[in-house]
Amino acid sequence: MMVLLIVLPLIFAFLAAIKKSFSYPLLVTSTVVNVIIVLLLKTSVPSVHVLGGWKPPFGINLVLDDASYYAVLIANIVFFLVALFKETVGKYSTVLMVMLAAVNGFVLTGDLFNSFVFLEILTATGVILASKRENYYNAFKYLVLGSLAGSMYLLATIFTYTQVGSLNMAHASYFAISEKAIVVITILYLVGLGVEAKLFPLNGWVSGVYGGNDLSPLVMATAVSFAALYMMGRLFLTVFGGYALHILYVLALITIVAGELAALYQKNLLKTLAYSSIAQAGIVLAAISKSTEKMVSLAYFHLTNDVIAKFVLFLVATFLVYNYKNLNGVFKKHKVLGTAFTISSMSLIGFPLFAGFQSKLRMLMEMFKTSDYLFPAVLLFATVIELTYLVRWNVKLWFEDIEDESEVKGPALRATISIILAILLVGIFLAPNIILNPTTKVAKALLDSTSYINNVIASSMGGM
């Protein structure tokens, strides 16, 4: 049943390619169907699906354990929400369907080469999305960087294949790779995935793509980056057993500071949010690189809050940027959008009454428990900078005197969805466990690679 998640969107995509006019309804149906499938899959969580009967060491298998289930769930929900906005999707529904398939595939696959293939598709569709609203130059930049990253990823897979003899992740993690080889493999993987996971020196493309048009940030900043960060966890924790994590830790810290400072400098709202998402990704990566169960679960908890908040922020921001020339005091005309924007930005900063508070405080708690004094200092410093530009934007959008008199009809659907998600954020503050339980399961699944291996090998014996 799991493979339908990948196959169905592809079929719908081809149908849409044939019948142009049906493409949007097809997109909606495919996302709805996908969400239903994911919910149905809830019961049969630790299961492995072997493609075409080929046993794992030779064939491709899809692994659905707690971690990948959570990632798929988030990705599909995001795509479903994006699909609701007919006018932002416009004629990109086929691309979106392909991207949905790619994301599901990338997350579920247990095979390294297969994940490379899905990564390539992701980058390709990402480039097409990024080129919306004539954002060609940034799209081109993303294409160059994405393909380079893809090639690095491929090299790493080839090296692992030479060392382990099979492309299967379980096998890779099972057979100890020699000392010299592991270094090359991890570095190439780090760089390959780093581009997609917005690691510091590699995330040049982010501001161009996210800041470029109104559709790509909604999808890329949330679902795709979630998938990339999940894959980071999967690779470095399960497959390589936490080998090159201290490199990741240092790069992540630099990403946080660089992202925040660049955002501080920005004048354009979308670009600021792009850099803020770089910084949040940095925080998640730093937390993952701690490789303790509590920290990894908090990492994904923080990532979930960030995804929700970013989704709302970009929803509101894209609407504003493409409807008003001058943004002063715009929220006076759209009160609901404004409140959603403020709530999610407050949650990003970590004010109490909002989800961010829970994740940041717990992270600080954990770090102090493991007496690591550097990361909390960087985190708090980054929060101060983040607070500066987010408060500056909130004050500018709420309280400045309105200069742009153009009257734009309030976006009812967009407002309702963003206010629901904002209230969800407050809900998470009140009952953090609704997110914390799944993320602890994710952490457990990622960390003990033995259960991962047993699932895969067991399934290779028992077949389907």
Binding site: F140, V144, L202, Y265, Q266, F368, I385
Partner: protein
């Protein structure tokens, strides 16, 4: 207690929609809630504890101590007065509904802070207070947007240092609740950890109560916030900072903790550092206040100076000094609130904040004038009003401890306060009434009643200080600072200090008898002829009838002295280094670093990206931890 706070928070959102309908009803409800809260504060029995819930394995609890009662009572006094004041004042504001909502949130936040038993609850309610006040400030005029950002950043810096300190404590002792922390800190061997932690906790107090290094936001925030709210800001929110300072010095018994660091006449080193900061903020506050032309910024700087007084008082940890510092919280809260409300009514009527444009408003707004006069008597620390008692105690402590430089700075601050409180008095209220304010009317009663009530309270506490000294005494007893003699001796009306006592009632009687004797003399002699200062306004073409060295002057503004009031003194420190510019330069530095990063890493051509990609691979390979 916790239900009270949650109810307040929920009701603040409800009140938003009520005020959307009609803001007047909303603000009346606000005022009623406030007064109910004051009543509630008195009824809660001391020592009750309520656990809120579990957070990361630690229990979050509220406790009702003497300190909590005293600080909540003082802040509620100020907030309720401002709420009543706002009932009529809000019609001159653009966002009355949001104002009503956020002021309730500020109340909830501050009460939560005062009730918090452990650092995390304190942090949560502290952030609520900061968040809601941060959203009220930008409702003011143009400059207030920037003020909100500066305010947010400065309190964020302080708060996150506080959080860092809290977690450092947690990592070592595994608990957040303050009583346990106090015990553990008392017998912890490593002094460097203790000093670091106490100063980090105090950082939030320094940021919030506007002590020296982080005091620049006060000028912008108070100067430009909506007028009534700057009364709450300086009267009450600054007291959150003093509360945290008190925690970092008294709740964590600094005398015991730093027993081995006794630097000078019984004052441990970190306290001495805090006192030095307090003294610096007294100097800066006073000097800058004297030269301000905008009356609200002037009183903002006076809040910096008085925050310094409170810190100096508490920092000495001397029974008298401590009591003086805490009493000064009460005095400054009331005085600053009344002064800002007076300025709010002046701005409400004349729509200008500059002293140089105003003058002679006593003829048109006598009641506001009286409220302002008594408030500045208390702020300047002159006997009949309660301001004097707290300053008297601080002086006694400083002199007894022989800290002469701090004492000299404290004296300079108190005399400087005569100067800067007198400047708006002479520039705005006394002197000649400009022609364009000819038909200014007095503010409606709902606005001057709160002022007079607060002034009356401060006056009564000045004459008979024992009701307010009682809670402070048992707060001091809680912290175990026992003096060798009874400070507030109610039986024979004495307020005792180390080197002498004085009897507030006798002093007041003396002043009254002196006043009566003067009045008798006044009536004995021939009746005066009335010189009407408003003659040029009443009949056209009548010159001013006071001594104008023979010249016929028809425009009163020409004959009113209010710009550069202390020119002689201001000239002495014209080219002074501005700390504010320094902090702006620091912010600019981060901005430029962001620009550099953006320029180098994020903007250039794809070829640069590949270069950076290759560089990362090379570096990692080369370094290979």
């Amino acid at each position: 207690m916790f239900t009270l706070l949650v109810a307040l928070l929920i009701f603040s959102v409800v009140n938003y929609f009520i005020s959307k309908a009609s803001w007047r009803v909303g603000s009346i409800i606000n005022a009623l809630i406030g007064s109910y809260l004051i009543f509630q504060v008195f009824t809660i029995p001391k020592g009750t504890e309520v656990t809120i819930g579990k957070f990361l394995g630690e229990t979050l609890a509220l406790q009702w101590t003497n300190a909590g009662f005293y600080f909540s009572f003082v802040s509620l006094l100020v907030i309720v007065a401002v709420m009543f004041f706002a009932i009529k004042w809000l019609d001159s504001q653009k966002h009355p509904a949001a104002f009503n909502m956020f002021i309730l949130m500020v109340t909830a936040g501050s009460l939560g802070v005062f009730m918090a038993k452990d650092l995390i609850t304190l942090y949560i309610f502290w952030e609520i207070a900061v968040l809601s006040s941060m959203l009220i400030i930008p409702m003011g005029k143009k400059e207030s947007r920037k003020a909100a950002v500066v305010y947010a950043v400065m309190s964020a810096v302080g708060t996150y240092m506080f959080l860092y300190g809290a977690f450092m404590i947690y990592s070592r002792y595994g608990t957040f609740s303050m009583p346990e922390i106090a015990k553990n800190l008392a017998n912890d061997p490593s002094t460097s950890f203790k000093v670091a932690v106490v100063l980090l906790i105090a950082a939030a107090g320094i940021a919030k109560s506007g002590i020296f290094p982080l005091h620049t936001w006060l000028r912008i925030a108070h100067g430009n916030a909506p007028d009534a709210f700057s009364a709450v800001l300086s009267g009450q929110l600054v007291k959150l900072g003093s509360y945290v300072l008190m925690i970092s010095v008294a709740v964590f018994p600094s005398l015991k903790i730093f027993a081995n660091l006794k630097l000078y006449s019984g004052v441990p080193a970190p306290n001495y550092f805090l006192i030095a900061l307090g003294a610096a903020s007294i100097i800066i506050g006073t000097l800058m206040a004297i030269k301000q032309d905008d009356m609200k910024m002037l009183i903002a700087y006076s809040s910096v100076a008085n925050g310094g007084y409170i810190l100096v008082g508490i920092g000495t940890m001397d029974p008298l000094g401590f009591e003086g510092g805490v009493l000064h919280v009460f005095n400054h809260a009331l005085a600053a609130a009344v002064i800002f409300m007076a300025f709010a009514s002046v701005v409400y009527r004349t729509h200008t904040k500059k002293i140089s444009e105003l003058g002679g408003l006593i003829h048109k707004m006598p009641i506001t004038y009286i409220a302002y006069l008594f408030a500045i008597i208390s702020l300047a620390g002159i006997p009949p009003m309660s301001g004097f008692i707290s300053k008297w105690m601080i002086y006694q402590a400083l002199v007894r401890k022989g800290m002469f430089i701090t004492a000299a700075i404290a004296f300079f601050g108190s005399i400087g306060s005569f100067l800067y409180v007198f400047r708006p008095l002479a520039g705005v209220f006394l002197g000649q009434l400009p022609r364009k304010y000819k038909d200014v009317k007095e503010v409606p009663p709902i606005m001057w009643i709160p002022m007079l009530v607060l002034v009356a309270i401060s006056f009564v506490m000045g004459v008979w200080p024992f009701p307010i000294l009682q809670p402070i005494e048992n707060m001091r007893a809680d912290f175990g600072i026992a003096p060798s003699f009874k400070i507030a001796d109610a039986q024979n009306w004495l307020v005792r200090g180390f080197s002498g006592s004085w009897n507030p009632v006798i002093v007041f009687n003396l002043f009254i008898t002196g006043f009566i004797v003067a009045y008798i003399l006044y009536t004995l002699f021939p009746k005066p002829k009335k010189v009407d200062l408003l003659k040029p306004h009443k009949e056209e073409g009548a010159p001013i009838n006071i001594y104008t060295s023979g010249e016929f002057i028809y425009t009163p503004e020409l004959y009113h002295y209010n710009t550069k009031f202390y020119a002689g003194f201001e000239r002495m420190y014209e080219k002074h280094p501005s700390w504010e510019k320094l902090l702006y330069m620091l912010a600019k530095f981060f901005h430029d670093v962001g620009e550099w990063i953006h320029g180098w890493f994020f903007r250039p051509s794809p070829s640069a990206y590949t270069f950076w990609l290759a560089m990362t691979i090379l570096i990692i390979f080369w370094v290979r931890w």
